[in-house]
């Protein structure tokens, strides 16, 4: 009996070591680029002189200079970039979320003639790659004189949000039992009243998720903004990051690029990590148990 039990013990130990080894490799892979960005943003070494030594910096080589440079003295000013990004992404989030609430309610809680066809239509439409809508949009919006205007970007951003956020809210509302709405109707509320007073408050979490996702899209959009924004007064954070990362100044002063990238992504990272379980549940449309 003894040798067998001991063998099993060793097997278990080996398995535990192997598991930790696999997970450590995964964590190193996951964190390496993040570490590289952070360390570069605090480093004095220009990119052209980078060696692997940059990864183990001496304290004397650390500086906040890149952050200072990223936040000031650039053209266009950081505040102007931030303001534009917030206007575009904020409007898209607000409009997209508002329309998605009504869409989700109508598609989930009503059984009107044509409901099924509309759901199929939305799902097929949502398969058309949003990047390729930029081509027809460009000519439609040029005719309307909307290129390089605020509405010219807010409209396509909001339209993109309505489609996926509508599906998201519909799926969430499907999981709310009809009894809740029926009880509200018994208490004398109209269907609209029941929607605003009872169903909508239950949907705040999914609406928050929809608004967040509708915000992140435009906030990090380059493809549409690159085509639609022609004046530097309307330049966004994402456009500016692309410009400084791909020009020669970017290559020679990579600290500024990484500092800018960190400042730009920090609020998003914090939000994702804080609400991760919720966001993953929402993104998989409830197809994932647990």
């Amino acid at each position: 009996m003894m040798p067998r039990r001991r063998a099993r013990k060793w097997l278990r130990l080996g398995r535990r070591i192997a598991s930790h080894a696999v997970l450590i490799v995964a964590v190193v892979f996951a964190l390496f680029p993040v570490y590289f960005i952070v360390i570069t943003s605090f480093s004095k070494i220009p990119i052209a002189a980078i060696t692997a030594q940059v990864l183990v910096p001496k304290v004397s080589q650390l500086t906040l200079g890149s952050y200072q440079q990223a936040l000031s003295g650039q053209y266009p000013a950081f505040t102007s970039l931030l303001e534009n990004s917030l206007i575009f992404a904020g409007s898209a989030a607000a409009i997209g979320m508002g329309l998605a609430a009504f869409t989700g309610f109508a598609l989930s809680k009503f059984n009107f003639p044509g409901r099924r066809s509309l759901v199929y239509f939305i799902l097929i439409i949502s398969l058309f790659p949003s990047f390729l809508l930029i081509i027809p949009y460009y000519f439609m919006f040029a005719k309307l004189g909307l290129i390089d205007t605020y509405p010219g970007l807010i409209i396509p951003y909001s339209a993109g949000a309505v489609v996926f956020a509508g599906i998201l809210v519909k799926n969430y509302m499907d999981s709310i039992p009809d009894d809740i709405e029926e009880a509200a109707l018994m208490d004398g509320l109209s269907r609209t009243g029941a929607f605003f007073r009872v169903l909508l408050p239950l949907c705040y979490p999914v609406l928050g998720l929809a608004a967040f996702l509708a915000f992140v899209g435009p906030y990090t959009d380059y493809a549409l903004a690159h085509v639609f924004i022609t004046s530097s007064a309307k330049e966004t954070l994402a456009l500016n990051l692309y410009n400084i990362a791909t020009t020669d100044t970017g290559a020679s002063n990579y600290g500024v690029v990484t500092a800018f990238a960190i400042v730009m992504s920090l609020p998003i990272v914090v939000f994702y990590m804080a609400f991760q379980r919720y966001i993953i549940g929402g993104l998989t449309l409830g197809a994932v148990r647990g």
Binding site: S19, V22, L23, A26, V27, A30, L31, P33, V34, I37, A48, I50, T51, A52, V54, L99, F102, T103, A106, L107, K109, F110, N111, F112, P113, L118, I122, L123, I125, L127, F128, P129, F131, L132, I135, P136, Y138, M140, P156, A159, V162, V163, D174, T220, A223, L241, A245, A251, A261, I268, V269, M273, I280, T284, L285, G286, A287, V288, R289, G290
Partner: protein, 311 residues
Amino acid sequence: MADLRDHSVGFRFRREWPAYIYLIPTVVVLLFLNAYPIAYTIYISMTDFGTGGRGSLLNYHYIGLTNYYTAFHSGLPTTLTLLENSLFWAGGSVVLFLAVGLGLATVLNQEIRGRAVYRTLILLPWAMPAFITILVWSNMWQYDYGIINEVLATVGIKPVAWLVHADTAWTALFVTNLWLSFPFYTVVFLATMQAIPKDLYEAASIDGAGSFSRFRRITLPYLAPTIIFVGLMGFLFTFNNFYPIYLITSGGPGISTQIFITESYNKAFGSVGASPQLSTAALYSVLDFVIIVAITVVVIWRTDLTRNWLK
């Protein structure tokens, strides 16, 4: 609300008409900002809009299926390369995502010390905006100052010109894409695995099933719907995932890593000075859309995803 399936259309309309009012803004968006632009794209693909010859930006003509004829005859090598690359990019990525995601989830699903810490650290790449991290990765792959070559140099590996050869360019793309996506797949599979009732495993152990056969007979069947669902979603997303290819390889070398969506964007808005080839761009958009819809319809029809999706 109450099940009205058995009632007549007229009855349902009288009871359910407020839905139409709620849907007005969305239907306007769907018609004017989705359906019309898609139809317009199909129309442009049948014109000589910017194909040289008679067509110019202001003056173009309907030429029927001529562009499609060209794309499948003289232009066939390019079309096939784009098709092959798009399928390879999406299919290869999904295989990687599923393999790594399932593997790591299985390891994390044991009672192992520091599980929550591992999970949180692995999830970090997913929380960072992809556009930003892809820009950083594109810099990391550079030949002369990229950090990847510098790290390889410390273990004596000569610098690799990642983006100059087709196979290393694909490697760079797949590694970057895996980094972007494996956290999400790992966590999704882990959540599904944790919902499997524990007593199933206990019963199987008593019956003498080893860990491999428990995985094959219990875990895998339980995960199947999730695998199919996130696999399809991942395929559709990657097929049209623009930024990795646009920012890291720009489709190069040549067009050896170019896919429909990036080639379409380049043809339309590509290089300053070069005249845009709008009809070709539109044609690639249409092909992209047709392939995506076909794959989705087949997967939904061959599996019972419909229940989750189209209630």
